[in-house]
């Protein structure tokens, strides 16, 4: 295995960024770091980078994220107070050195390897209610058939919590969603997005975030083809076009619990990304959960 280790020695460090308050602008500068690659799933990462302060109310979510990074793993707190005793803290603008050190670290487990909620099912395979369906094993409802909200066909609906560190969502936003396939049936915002300050609303940054969700880099957008890919009538095209022209968007969204049901996942995350983080934060209730 030694030749494999030798070859891997100069590999890029896969970093998952958990973005906290005022962390969006920080994270964008990571693209310029040599030898560091941002990944979109904690499973693909070697290092957990907490960029910006995370409230202690979400310490548990952060601990779970830490546990999802396969061992050995390292942690870096970048302009963020530590929420648990792992990794090192970086105060300055350049976390590069700390990330390289974390890539050699081996954090001990932060969470015990046990289910997050007690078992509340009845059967041996997680079924909780009647027959093979329903019930609430380990605190999560099992998928259960329900009428599709679009055409009334009966399909499995399942509920899950998304956020606060899912890269496709605005950082800090926690959504409790019930979905049928990739269609959102009902939504509740359990926690609002983190404040990102004026730099979070910067047009280039907002446009880049939206384009990334569509799988292209900011350069390709000069062809304006990206606008054609967006659905008509939801204002997404208008807002992205404004950002691409360098203009600030000041529109406010409808509250997500009203606006998300009926949308499919990809459309929903694009819709959320098409508003400046500050505006989205303003319409989400503070700490409803």
């Amino acid at each position: 295995m030694s030749w494999l280790s030798t070859l891997a020695h100069d590999a890029e460090i896969a970093v998952f960024a958990a973005v906290g308050q005022h962390g969006l602008g920080l994270t964008e500068t990571l693209g310029r770091q040599r030898g560091v690659r941002l990944v979109s799933s904690p499973r693909h990462a070697r290092v957990l980078l907490v960029a910006g302060e995370v409230e202690s109310a979400q310490a548990r979510a952060l601990e779970r994220l830490h546990a999802q990074i396969p061992p050995p793993r390292g942690t870096v707190w970048w302009q963020a107070p530590r929420l648990f005793e792992r990794g090192e803290t970086v105060i300055g603008d350049d976390p590069g050195e700390a990330i390289r050190r974390a890539a050699g670290a081996d954090d001990p487990e932060q969470r015990p390897d046990v289910p997050p909620h007690p078992w509340r099912g009845m059967g041996p395979h997680g079924q909780g209610g009647h027959g093979m369906m329903g019930g609430n094993p380990y605190g999560r409802p099992m998928a259960m058939t329900a009428d599709d909200i679009r055409d009334g066909l009966t399909l499995d609906a399942y509920s899950a919590r998304f956020g606060p560190f899912l890269p496709a969502l605005p950082p800090g936003l926690v959504l409790d969603l019930t979905m049928q396939g990739d269609v959102i049936v009902s939504a509740a915002a359990a926690s609002p997005p983190y404040p990102q300050g004026p730099e979070g609303d910067a047009p280039t940054l907002c446009a880049a975030r939206m384009l990334r969700l569509m799988g292209i880099g900011p350069r390709a957008a000069h062809a304006r083809g990206a606008l054609m890919a967006l659905p008509k009538g939801s204002g997404m095209r208008r807002r992205l076009a404004a950002w691409l022209r360098g203009e600030t968007v000041t529109e406010s969204p409808a509250p997500p619990p009203n606006a998300l049901p009926g949308r499919e996942w990809a459309e929903a995350v694009l819709w959320l990304a098409s508003f400046p983080p500050s505006r989205l934060r303003a319409v989400c209730p503070e700490e409803a959960a």
């Binding site: 494999l4 693909h44 396969p70 496709a168 799988g215 880099g217 890919a229 967006l230 499919e264 459309e267």
Partner: protein, 297 residues
């Protein structure tokens, strides 16, 4: 036939490496030559992840199936006159079967970890995969018509006078759409897009993830070789030997696929579904009709 199989097995890892290099160039990242190997080695040294109540068997097998489909698909491509790993009269049908089964394999890959984001990716991919496969069937029938044969070797020989890319200009662009779909790329990456945080592969790590990515790149190689064969005359060309022409054309298609994946934005799936059924499929009918009229005696 045995020599062709060996040549295929030896050249595939190298071509996968080249595909990874193209991807780095497309993403605008440096260290083009070594980084794919180094990152791959680092990934192999990471552990696999366990998820709660997974479909263990399918989770283990999905990357292997994907690679097997790429290899079987590649095996019908002739390297030179008479040199082909699978010398069958219905090569195009075998390739079509590999395309169709890719949908099943990607679904199993997303289904098996028992986790929401991979499952959403899997469902979405199946919805988009069906019309994309239909598209490819019509386009490939178009490529087979001038040869009046489903044998890939015959399809190449029928292009001695005129390549299919000139004879049926709609064919290659439409086939490229299928290529993006079966290699999970750019506008057709509904399984593993950024909006799903890795989607079908979101729960994978270590060797399992490395194997899946290798298989995905191998499928790009297989698709590029097939596109070069069905539309760009395969091994036909002056001066250089046949295999060299096939290699050059394969690399050109591969570069075009990587570039297209970076250039075109991904639509939300409902919009893409409409685009496929309302725009691309009728275009493929039109292509077939034109080819049919031309093939009339």
């Amino acid at each position: 036939m045995i020599a062709a199989t060996f040549a295929l097995l030896l050249s595939l890892p190298l071509l996968v490496w080249v595909a990874a290099m193209f991807d780095r160039i497309g993403a605008g990242r440096g260290r083009v030559v070594m980084a794919p190997l180094q990152n791959g080695a680092a990934l192999l040294l990471r552990p696999n992840t366990e998820t709660e109540a997974p479909d263990q068997l399918n989770r283990l097998l999905a990357p292997g199936w994907y690679l097997a489909l790429a290899l079987v698909g590649l095996s019908v491509v002739p390297f030179a006159p008479g040199v082909v790993a699978s010398d069958i009269a219905t090569g195009l049908v075998l390739w079509g079967a590999c395309e169709a089964l890719t949908v099943v394999v990607v679904f199993l890959h997303g289904w098996s970890p028992n986790s929401p984001l991979p499952l959403i990716g899997a469902y979405r991919y199946v919805a988009i995969g069906l019309p994309a496969m239909l598209l490819s069937m019509f386009v490939l029938i178009g490529a087979a018509l001038p040869a009046q044969s489903l044998s890939v070797a015959e399809v190449v020989e029928a292009q001695r006078d005129l390549w299919n890319v000139v004879r049926q200009p709609l064919g290659l662009p439409l086939f490229m759409a299928l290529g993006l779909a079966i290699t999970l790329r750019g506008p057709f990456d509904f399984a593993e897009g950024a909006e799903l945080a890795g989607g079908a592969s979101a729960e994978e790590s270590g060797p399992a993830l490395a194997a899946w990515r290798f298989a995905r790149a191998a499928m790009l190689v297989a698709f590029s070789a097939m596109a070069a064969t069905a539309f760009l005359g395969g091994y036909l060309g002056p001066v250089l030997p046949g295999p060299a022409w096939l290699l050059l054309k394969t690399l050109a298609v591969m570069a075009a696929a990587v570039a297209a994946g970076r250039f075109f934005a991904r639509m939300p799936p409902a919009r893409m579904l409409t685009f496929l059924w309302v725009v691309l499929l009728p275009l493929s009918f039109a292509n077939l009709a034109l080819v049919g009229v031309e093939a009339l005696p």
